[in-house]
């Protein structure tokens, strides 16, 4: 072996080729199959895409680095399921470019945050977390309420998402700016288009309580309120796990109370 290596280390090109070959194997074996094996991501026919406002909120979540302290991935461990809710499924982040599973919980997991608190709570909490949770060490995000959200380019954002594989329709792309506006103004003419395109259950509210303009706060709260609610596949699976006797009935029951029981 030493003799062979003595030869190899006399050739720069040979050495380069050897490094590339040796280093490529692991990634090819582990990553490539994830794109080809069908069971990797579950089916969820009810899964919807993010609305333009929610996507803008998600981009604020990314911009402010929220993922550095909050995970969005409930592991398959008893205590996590009891604390946060049903464990996360791969399908739940299939439209997440990039994923925000996170690696650290300085704050709690947010995978099932949607619907757990009121909009007003989120707004107060983001402006000063210590007003509602005195022991919190989260930063204040007061400027979100002061900043207008940029909505004129949301169509381009949706197109880029479409280019990487998210099924946005041409209609969604064309109406992106109006839909972002409409989602924060339930009484306006634009609101109807949002529920038409993204479903009746879409949250259409004045998220930050200020109807005069669309703020970054609106977008972020809209995003936080949809976390874990794009599909109820995880709840169906949890119901199925609880009782394997009659899965059909269980999942119907779960559907009849869509996401009713939120995580504790």
């Amino acid at each position: 072996m030493s003799e062979l290596h003595r030869k190899l280390e006399r050739s720069a090109v040979g050495f380069v080729v050897a490094i590339i070959f040796m280093a490529s194997i692991g990634g090819l074996v582990e990553i490539a199959p994830l794109f080809t094996i069908d069971e990797t991501v579950e089916d969820a026919p009810d899964m919807r895409v993010y609305t333009p406002l929610e996507l803008a909120g998600r981009n604020i979540y990314i911009r402010e680095g929220c993922y550095a302290c909050h995970s969005q991935m409930i592991r398959t461990l008893q205590d996590e399921v009891e604390r946060y809710g049903p464990y996360s499924l791969a399908v739940e982040s299939q439209y997440d470019h990039p994923m925000l599973w996170g690696s650290k919980r300085t704050g709690p997991d947010l995978a099932r945050l949607g619907g757990k608190y009121s909009d007003a709570w989120h707004v107060a909490h983001l402006i000063n977390p210590r007003d509602v949770v005195p022991e919190s060490v989260m930063p204040k995000y007061g400027w979100l309420q002061r900043n207008d959200l940029r909505i004129d380019d949301l169509g381009a954002h949706l197109s880029a998402m479409k280019a990487v594989g998210v099924p946005y329709s041409d209609e969604m792309i064309a109406n992106a700016t109006n839909d972002a506006f409409g989602q924060t103004l339930p009484d306006s003419d634009f609101a109807e288009g949002v529920s038409e395109r993204y479903g009746e259950e879409t949250n259409i509210r004045e998220f930050d309580g200020d109807t005069s303009r669309v703020t970054e706060m609106d977008a972020l709260v809209a995003y936080l309120q949809i976390l874990g609610r794009l599909t109820d596949a995880a709840y169906q699976q949890a119901a199925g796990n609880q009782s394997s006797q009659d899965q059909q009935a269980q999942s119907q029951q779960a559907q009849s109370q869509p996401l009713g029981s939120t995580a504790k």
Binding site: S2, E9, R10, A12, F15, V16, I19, I20, M22, A23, S24, I25, G26, G27, E30, I31, L34, I37, E39, T40, V41, N59, I62, R63, E64, G65, Y67, A68, T76, L77, D79, E82, A90, S93, Q94, Y95, D96, H97, P98, M99, W101, S103, K104, R105, P108, D109, P129, R130, E135, S136, V137, P139, K140, W143, R150, D153, S159, A160, V164, G165
Partner: protein, 548 residues
């Protein structure tokens, strides 16, 4: 720096800078409604600044041909200085973000100064600013010495060093502005990523061209590691950063991958950034400077081979241990765990090789803080790789993941191994580069050593405590079968450890400030004092080729 360039190299530099300025102008115009515009100005200003410098220092006279008989070390010198600047800046931000977890209001009411934006500023400044500049500076030094050949020309090393720092500035200023991909340790956006690829190709070009000129038949071990660092980081960087920008006028892009595939790609990248940036590159450093300083040959050639190929092959499988119990398929988790455990063998082969090299030189370790830096680095390397293999075991990971234990593990590696080997190397290299007999003050090196070591130990112990307490509190049940602690209770329990951690970080920062002062005074000492005679010279290209 300019006076050494030939007229041809000056023209190449000028054309490159003008092109860059045009790109900057284009970015500024296309991105005027976006943070991209600000970055356009950064590119424009830095390239016009360099054009001004180039023109003002060019006097038309070609450089002294005698320079070709010496190694080309000017980029290495600047690299060392830049590396120390990044170290102090990055560590300062680190102490700040650490303090924010104990005193969350210790900041300004401004977006740029919030924890989420500062945290990647800290990680990028220390990993890429401090670590990357140290790797570039030392690799160019080691490459020439072990090849006994001068760099092929003098333009591309400057392109790599300055271009790389432009990448770091774009990345870090981007986080302040809110420009981030959110991929940990790969947060920089698409245009900075493309720029880094260009810089990296030129860097590889320098390496392969200098090796082609080498006057030694064998390529030395240190260069294996530096080459693995350059090649594999390129692979990882390109694949993980595949993305589609919103438009040419937007800084924002959307990752080509989503969900579980994105998670696996990200941690394949993330873990191997640790492996090939923070391990392979710095092992290259260790394999050259430690034996040099100890004046002992490397203990075992065979161990070097085993550990090099072991690391190159096995690390690439280990990334999935970051995703235990997640929605990643179980078989991938199991593969990642298995390879992570086996990885201990090549890791300890390297650490053991380094420590065994010191046999017969332990009296020097006792007396010389520079060598002691390197010895402690090898010890921390061994400890951290053991801890890493341990934490990759699935049930252990169920406790440690998402907690501060991970942060403690990372810092044992980053402070104890990466930073210590770098400081030891710099204390060797600075007197050599500025032709001095010794560093300005050995006593200050001693101070730096103890500050760095105590800071690391305080930090790591604080994080072990907080991480394990956190992990246990999250999973504790009471007699009635419900969870005992709320999340908030686990957070409140962290406070003393967060204060201790900030203090440990402060000690480490203080050490880096002392070190920077010492290095700066050594450089000043070199002014006016005659250089010590040169005994390290490349084999003259004019002389008949010996050996082969």
């Amino acid at each position: 720096m300019v006076s050494q360039l030939t007229p041809g190299e000056r023209i190449a530099a000028l054309i490159t800078l003008i092109l860059l300025a045009v790109i900057g102008l284009f970015m500024a115009a296309a991105g005027r409604a976006d943070p991209l515009g600000a970055h356009g100005f950064v590119v424009l200003l830095s390239s016009t600044g360099l054009i001004f410098l180039l023109l003002s220092k060019s006097n038309g006279t070609p450089p002294d041909p005698a320079r070709l008989l010496q190694y080309y070390d000017d980029p290495t010198k600047l690299g060392i200085i830049l590396s120390m600047i990044w170290a102090v800046f990055g560590l300062f931000i680190g102490v700040w973000v650490a303090s924010l977890l104990a005193w969350p209001d210790l900041t300004f009411d401004a977006a740029w100064a919030s924890f989420g934006r500062l945290r990647p500023v800290h990680t990028t400044s220390v990993i890429f600013g401090f670590g990357g500049n140290a790797l570039i500076a030392t690799s160019l030094h080691v490459l020439q010495r072990t090849s006994r050949a001068r760099l092929p020309e003098q333009f591309s090393p400057w392109f790599v060093l300055l271009g790389y720092n432009l990448f770091c500035i774009l990345a870090v200023s981007g986080y302040f502005l809110g420009v981030t991909q959110s991929k940990e340790y790969a947060e920089a956006e698409w245009y900075a990523d493309i720029w880094l690829v260009i810089v990296w190709v030129v860097y590889f070009g320098i390496y392969i061209r200098t090796l082609a000129r080498r006057q030694e038949p064998h390529i030395y071990v240190a260069n294996w590691y530096y080459m693995a660092f350059i090649l594999v980081v390129a692979m990882l960087h390109i694949v993980n950063n595949l993305a589609i920008p919103v438009s040419m006028g937007h800084a924002k892009s959307y990752s080509a991958f989503s969900g579980v595939q994105d998670a696996m790609t990200q941690w394949w990248y993330g873990h191997n950034a640790v492996a090939f940036f923070l391990t392979a590159g710095f092992l290259g450093m260790m394999y050259y400077y430690l034996p040099k300083r100890a004046e002992r040959p490397i203990f075992s050639y065979r161990l070097s081979i085993i550990s090099f190929w072991g690391i190159t092959f096995m690390y690439m499988w280990a990334g999935s241990h970051h995703l235990h119990y997640t929605a990643l398929p179980h078989w991938v988790q199991t593969l990642g765990m298995s390879f992570s455990i086996v990885l201990l063998v090549p890791s300890w082969a390297s650490a053991g090789n380094a420590l065994a090299t010191l046999n017969g030189a332990w009296h020097r370790v006792r007396d010389d803080a520079t060598l002691r830096f390197m010895m402690v680095a090898a010890v921390f390397y061994g400890l951290t790789t053991f801890e890493g293999s341990f934490m990759a075991i699935r049930p252990v990971n169920s406790l440690s993941h998402y907690t501060d234990w991970t942060i403690g593990h990372v810092h044992a590696g980053a402070l104890g191994w990466v930073a210590m080997i770098t400081f030891g190397t710099f204390y060797c290299l600075v007197p050599w580069m500025w032709k001095q007999e010794r560093i300005y003050s050995p006593k200050l090196v001693e101070w730096h050593f103890w500050l760095a070591l105590s800071g690391t130990i305080v930090y790591v112990f604080a994080m072990w405590n907080s991480g394990i307490i956190q992990g246990l509190m999250w999973r504790t049940y009471n007699e009635s079968g419900t969870l005992t602690y709320s999340f908030l209770e686990s957070l409140v329990a962290m406070e003393p450890y967060y204060i201790a951690r900030a203090f440990g970080g402060f000690l480490f920062l203080a050490g880096a400030v002392v070190g920077s002062y010492n290095i700066w005074m050594t450089i000043r000492m070199a002014r006016g004092v005659p250089a010590t005679p040169m005994d390290d010279l490349p084999v003259s290209r004019l002389a008949p080729e010996a050996g082969e």
